[in-house]
Amino acid sequence: MNLSKRWIHDYVNLDVTDKEFAAALTLSGSKVEGYETEGEELSNIVVARIESLEKHPDSDHLWICQVNVGAEENLQIVTGAQNLKEGDYVPAALDNSVVAGGKKIKKGKLRGVESAGMLCSLGELGLTVNDFPYAIEDGIFVLGEDCDLTLGTDIREATGFNDVVTEFEITSNRPDCLSVIGLARETAVTYGMDFVEPTPVVEPGEGDVNDLLKVSIEAPELCYRYVGAVVKNVKIEPSPRWMRERLRASGVRPINNIVDITNFVMLEYGQPMHAFDLRYLEGNEVIVRNAKQGEKITTLDGVERELSEEMLVIADAKKPVAVAGVMGGEYSGIMDDTNTIVFESACFNGPSIRMTAKKLGMRTEASSRFDKQLDPKGCRTILDRALQLVQQLGAGEVVNGAVDCDCSGKSDFTLPFEPEWVNNFIGINVSADEQKKILERLGCKVENGVITVPSFRGDLLHKADISEEIARFYGYDNIPDRQLAGVATAQYTPEQKFERLINTTMLACGLSELCTFSFISPKSYDKICLPADSAKRNCVVISNPLGEDTSVMRTTMLPSMLETLARNYNNRNAKAYLYELGKEYIWKGADELPEEPQMLCLGMYGAECSFFTIKGIVEELLYKLGVEDYDVEAVTDNPSYHPGRTAVISKDGKVIGTLGEIHPQVLGNYGIGVKAYAAEISFNACFELSQLKRTYKQLPKFPALTRDLAFVCKKSEPVLMLEKTIAQAVGKNLESIELFDVYEGSQIPEGMKSVAFNLKLRAADRTMTDEEADSAMKKAVKALEKIGISLRS
């Protein structure tokens, strides 16, 4: 909302700087985004009169003008314009002046003739023919009588191009503030002044409107009130300067008196109006009704639009002439030969307007005001204001009366006046009198403990709303700050502590944390090679996505990770060790919210990175999380991973996660030119399996014995199986078993491998003897021999 300073000064008497005004209104609730002065960049351009002009001797188009700028001596200025004559008043940019666009003007010579400056066109002042319709676009701006013609006057002052425009950001609950009167009222209350809204007065005219116009509302639930008036013998011409400049400052282009009046009133009161040409209203009738299914209308912008039944139209006896509250039809507008017009001042159902505008894809100035639910009570006043302006401008003859169809049935809304409650709720102490005064200035009536809310304040519905009115005019700044009372104890939940443990462990393992979008492209599932019937393709689908790229909620975090790895690879980062603790989204049907399990995804590539790097990190993580004694099994059929380099980790039948090398085909799909590794770990599984209550084990009192054992087994035999068999055979005195070598090659038969372990044996209560150790080793060897694995000789 752009507010003209000139215009608001018509209503409130203010003597503050623009900056103070902006700050005060912002702090009382009408947020100022900024303000600027029109024509600010112009300087040293003054009103001049052409005293004489003669042709330039060396040019067929230049003129040498002697101009009077109110100084003792005339100035000589050369111009190329052809529209000047003696006695014309023109803007003269003098030596060292600045015209629109920041261009500097200095005196100089034009084809050998001295020129003390430049005569300006509208464009050079930053104006258009809409601002001064009697001027021409390409030629010097010859000032008319609506300008101050005192010679030497600054051109901005002379033309009124020096208003200050303040831009407000008005919240959606205050459509009344999208108007000059609304903001004037806010301003008055902010500065503690009384505000009286003027009542427009229409002089009696001729005839009776009921003879010329019939109005009926067939859809009272969508149109609360429709008031129509008729103006005959309309004289279409430009509106006067004071109206044009107020429109310009508000960001609206002046067009002609009738259109300008409707816009002016809209800006003044916040409610859009419409003017129809009576010629095109068949049957001289306005019917406010639902559109018929498939009914068509060509709107003012020349587009044919198909309507549906839930939309509201303004129709005549035969056809729709406007999409109610959104846009008029092509013949509904005002033309140069228009003779009789119908003014419409109506109030529609806000949500319906909003829906219609959205469906037709045409959010207009009118619709964006109507959709905030305007006040049916204002319709008549607003219409009267328009008629008053018609009379004031001499734009036509107002026919007596107005056709008023009022279905609003809206009675006064009241709330209890509870100053004590307000004080307690806000934490202030403002007297009842003071509160009453604020409310009355806002337009409320306060009597006998009851507040009657003005009809234009549809947002005041509860005593809490009243408290805000008191608080903002008392001043949020004046509310004290109080420390929260009560005992402040809070702690993280076990899950939150577990999250923190995951994060610290991942960081300590050298992985950096990611943050990626939760929605992905459904094509990602192809990129990670999920089969067409994979359950993971059944995802939460966004019905109105921004684009395909972000159209489904991920059921796996792998694509986000791979995309990030690819981006890092493409950006030539030599290595990337990454993790993300995020959510996956599992569709449960339309009647249930999706499951949102938390997952930990690891991803890495780099010269020193191998399957065992990521496995080592996962092992370290699980140890820190208190998840131990889990099973690791090779997985050959996970389509996203290398069939020979992938493991699934589980415990008690519960899957903890998958880790492995990314399948070369998947790497190719993502354009990753190096081996990459990933792991997907279930937060929930880890959390449920976690045993974080560690107990201290006494440091050993007796020495340990170590033994090395090497076995020869089939290449496919998992090392973990050997390890577990040995551990079981040796029993409780086995302190640790560590794999230290796996060898294939000469001395080992084809298809076999040698696996070597280092065992540390210790008894808790005595020094173990060599004999004991040897006998334990024999047990281990025997146990493996039982399953066909022999000691390496």
Partner: protein
């Protein structure tokens, strides 16, 4: 014999002084003090002396022995010290050479700031609550005083899953969920991801994070909101930070406000960053609308509350002087490695 001893002493001391290495010293020890050494040899001849001379010479011999020993020890220490000195010199490094890269990972900047915010509120007695990201229209809108066709829905372009299911556009639905599950007094923050149909650019993202706050108790007033957020601002930006409340509108709070803090670039003097205001907006909040309390099952005649919301991205961009929000979600190691 006395003369002999004195001669030996003089000779030995000279030799010790001239010795270059531990080996030299050991050889000298053997030569003079060893079993077959010169001093020992003298002592062995003591038997030949008279009874009067014996103790005198004996004492002298012991003195000589001791003197040599002390000198030897001293010299050993000296050589050791010199050797150490030489070693240290030889081990001198160019300490300006870079250290070996430690392999710690980097926390995401959003998490760094979130952790800080969580710690602050935890210290003020706020628990951390969560809620679903795919949410019912009821929790995201209806229960928060935003019925269908409410104009406020226009400003929050929503991703819908079904007519009634959506991606939450704000963390505020957690307010309702917390109230449904917990009796007052309530003091929680609820950080989390939110979604709005905004195209990606340097200041917008369809996926971002908010931190919601909710306090419900008997006698909570706007003065509590102000005090609480003033405390938060001071803990986040320093003791000198001031806050400014501006009236605003949110359907689920009444009165509502936007909260500005002293511009952390200029300290409030006014600069291009704060557009000369001296303040920067970081929060929105207000008193929980009585209808919202009711929707959460809390009696507004008994309890009152305040709520607020912070944009985590905004805090993070400010904190690290990051000028493009996209960097946060691109996760380039060159970016992540800076935190």
């Amino acid at each position: 014999m006395k003369d002999q001893l004195k001669a030996i002493q003089a000779e030995a001391l000279q030799a010790v002084a001239a010795a270059q290495s531990n080996a030299d010293l050991e050889a000298l020890r053997v030569k003079y003090l060893g079993k077959k050494g010169e001093v020992t040899a003298i002592l062995k001849q003591m038997g030949k002396l008279s009874a009067e001379e014996r103790p005198v010479v004996g004492q002298l011999a012991n003195e000589v022995r001791q003197t040599i020993e002390v000198q030897l020890e001293e010299k050993v220490g000296q050589i050791k010290a010199e050797a150490l000195k030489a070693q240290l010199i030889s081990e001198t490094l160019d300490v300006t050479m870079p250290g070996e890269k430690a392999t710690l990972g980097h926390r995401h900047p959003l998490s760094i700031v979130l952790d800080e915010v969580k710690e602050i509120f935890l210290g003020m007695g706020f628990e951390v609550a969560t809620g679903p990201e795919v949410e019912w229209d009821y929790y995201n809108f209806e229960a928060l005083n935003i019925p269908k066709e409410h104009p406020a829905r226009d400003t929050q372009d929503t991703f819908y899953i079904t007519e009634n299911m959506l991606l939450r556009t704000q963390t505020s639905p957690v307010q309702i969920r917390v109230m449904e599950n917990k009796k007052p007094p309530i003091r929680v923050i609820a950080p989390g991801s939110v979604f709005r149909s905004d195209a990606v650019d340097s200041t917008h993202s369809p996926f971002f994070h908010q931190i919601e706050g909710l306090v419900v108790d008997k006698g909570i007033t706007m003065a509590d909101l102000k005090g609480c957020l003033f405390d938060f601002a001071k803990r986040l930006y320093g003791e000198d930070t001031k806050i400014r409340l501006r009236p605003h509108h949110f359907p689920f709070t009444e009165p509502s406000c936007e909260i500005d803090v002293t511009c952390f670039r200029c300290g409030g003097k006014g600069c291009p960053f704060c557009k000369g205001e001296g303040f920067v907006e970081i929060l929105g909040g207000g008193m929980v609308h009585p209808q919202v309390l009711k929707n959460g099952g809390v009696d507004p005649e008994v309890y009152s509350g305040f709520a607020f919301g912070v944009g985590l991205e905004r805090l993070t961009l400010f904190r690290f002087n990051i000028d493009d929000m996209r960097l946060l979600f691109e996760n380039d190691m060159r970016f992540l490695g800076q935190f």
